[in-house]
């Protein structure tokens, strides 16, 4: 891998247990800044579990234990003095099912910046809301109905609203867990186009079951199987000439 590219996240020897079950067997992975990295693999391979380690979403699962290092620009996110709430403003997450707050479109965006004390209500907040909605490519569709509930939007719009909400706190990294699995092809294409734009400013990591989506939308692809990282490389290489036979079998549909 080229050495002139900057790591945003550096993961070393990451192991995770659910009780006695070891779900991740020591993952080493560099997530490059300003790139879209896709995690693929069959159900139960550990890709979502791994994604959730990247902003400590597994912390609250009973019996879950994590070992190893996850460094955000060199700083250990599992260090004892790390404030998890603060951490998640740096590493945001977009989920499979769009989950806007049961509040207005405006409030969906304004809520987090307000509680984090980033911006006061008023013209500054108006500007922040507009910027976030613009970056998420949904401004034109909602600018005339900012006071309407976010839940009244279509699924694809809700997902872009959730992305805008994540962007509003100016994160470094956006994690996406199957962000398009509940969306139709047009809405999916819009999200993929959005990822392409957002990577100018943010590092994006996406978990997807849709291999064509990984191929279309990512720069790098990591293939997980049974808690191991099998292969990691440029997406174009993984999809044309993977070096591992197990990767080949999976992406050509010869799996299981």
């Amino acid at each position: 891998m080229a050495t002139d590219m900057k790591n945003k996240l550096t993961i070393r020897g990451l192991k995770l247990w659910y009780g006695d079950f070891e779900a991740l067997h020591g993952i080493d992975l560099d997530i490059l800044a300003g790139k879209v990295t896709a995690f693929i693999g069959p159900s139960g391979c550990g890709k979502s579990t791994f994604l959730r380690c990247l902003n400590r979403m597994n912390d609250r699962i009973a019996g879950c234990r994590v070992e190893g290092d996850v460094l955000l620009e060199g700083n250990d996110i599992y260090a004892p003095d790390v404030d998890v709430v603060q951490l998640r403003t740096h590493i945001g997450m977009v989920f499979q099912k769009p989950n806007p707050f049961p509040k207005s479109i405006y409030e969906n965006i304004a809520y987090a910046p307000r509680i984090h004390g980033m911006v006061q209500d008023g013209p500054d907040m108006d500007e922040l809301v507009e910027t976030a909605l613009r970056k998420a490519s949904i401004w034109d569709e909602v600018k005339d109905k900012l006071q309407q509930p976010g839940t009244a939007l279509s699924g694809g719009q809700q997902q872009r609203l959730c992305i805008a909400r994540t962007i509003a706190v100016q994160p470094d990294v956006i994690l996406m867990d199957e962000p398009c699995s509940a969306l139709d092809p047009i809405a999916t294409a819009k999200i993929e186009e959005l990822m392409d734009e957002l990577k100018q400013e943010y590092t994006i990591v996406i978990v997807t079951h849709n291999m064509q989506q990984a191929a279309r939308a990512s720069d790098y692809t990591a293939y997980f199987y049974l808690g191991d990282l099998i292969e990691y490389g440029e997406t174009s290489q993984i999809f044309t000439a993977p070096s591992n036979q197990r990767t080949e079998d999976y992406i050509t549909g010869r799996f299981g």
């Binding site: 291999m211 064509q212 993984i238 044309t240 080949e248 079998d249 992406i251 050509t252 549909g253 010869r254």
Partner: protein, 235 residues
């Protein structure tokens, strides 16, 4: 390699390979038969080559149709993608080779009254080229890198012999103007054979891409072998 989960896709890939091999078999036969028509001055054989070229062309169209629909409907990746890409290229080389064999047959028909006067070098050239075609097709059939490299390596010999043959041919024509008609025929046949060899090399290179994912076009044989043994990076 384990079987595809989608049985129908697996069947399509198998059928694609079989079609390429069938087409390759027809081309190999066309080259052999065209040379027999030259050496035995047998116009009926020449006519057969010309008639059979239609079957080669029909396979080209059929294979192209298959690859088009597989690309659109299956979104192939990795080894499957490389097989389909290789097929798209190989089919063109095969079709051109068929045309070149047809060209030899046409030359035989046109110069029935003035057959070749010197055949030994051209015979050797034909043997080499036919082996190249055979190696390229074997390489494809068995994903055999050694056969592919052999085909590519043999091209040096072919080119050398082709040049020698043309020089020799020119000497005959200069010495005796009555040899000119036969000399021109020899020149056409030699040129077509040499180009069939080039197409075989293209096929062998695509087989290497198909099997290993390395592009060895436009590098010399030694570099290609080094890339394949993993000693060298492509760039």
């Amino acid at each position: 390699m384990p079987e595809h989960t989608l049985k129908r896709f697996e069947d399509e890939l198998t059928s694609l390979k079989e079609k390429i091999l069938a087409m390759g078999g027809l081309v190999e036969k066309a080259v052999r038969r065209s040379m027999k028509s030259v050496l035995q001055v047998d116009t009926s054989k020449a006519q057969k080559v010309i008639d059979r070229d239609r079957a080669i062309n029909a396979l080209e169209v059929e294979i192209d149709e298959m690859t088009r629909s597989m690309l659109a409907l299956r979104q192939p990746a990795a080894g499957d993608l490389r097989l389909i890409i290789a097929t798209i290229k190989i089919v063109t080389d095969l079709e051109r080779s068929g045309d070149l064999a047809e060209g030899i047959a046409e030359a035989v028909l046109q110069s029935e009254e003035n057959p070749l006067t010197h055949t030994s070098t051209i015979e050797t050239l034909a043997d080499l080229v036919i082996r190249q075609v055979k190696d390229a097709l074997d390489a494809f059939a068995r994903s055999d890198l050694d056969a592919a490299l052999k085909c590519i390596e043999r091209d040096k010999k072919v080119n050398k012999l082709y040049k020698a043959m043309q020089r020799e041919n020119l000497t005959y024509m200069l010495e005796d103007p009555r040899q000119i008609t036969a000399g021109l025929l020899a020149s056409t046949i030699g040129k077509n054979l040499e180009r069939i060899g080039d197409h075989a090399v293209n096929i062998a290179e695509m087989v290497i891409y198909m099997v290993k994912g390395h592009d060895v076009r436009h590098v010399d044989h030694k570099t290609a072998a080094a890339i394949l043994s993993g000693e060298l990076d492509e760039d």
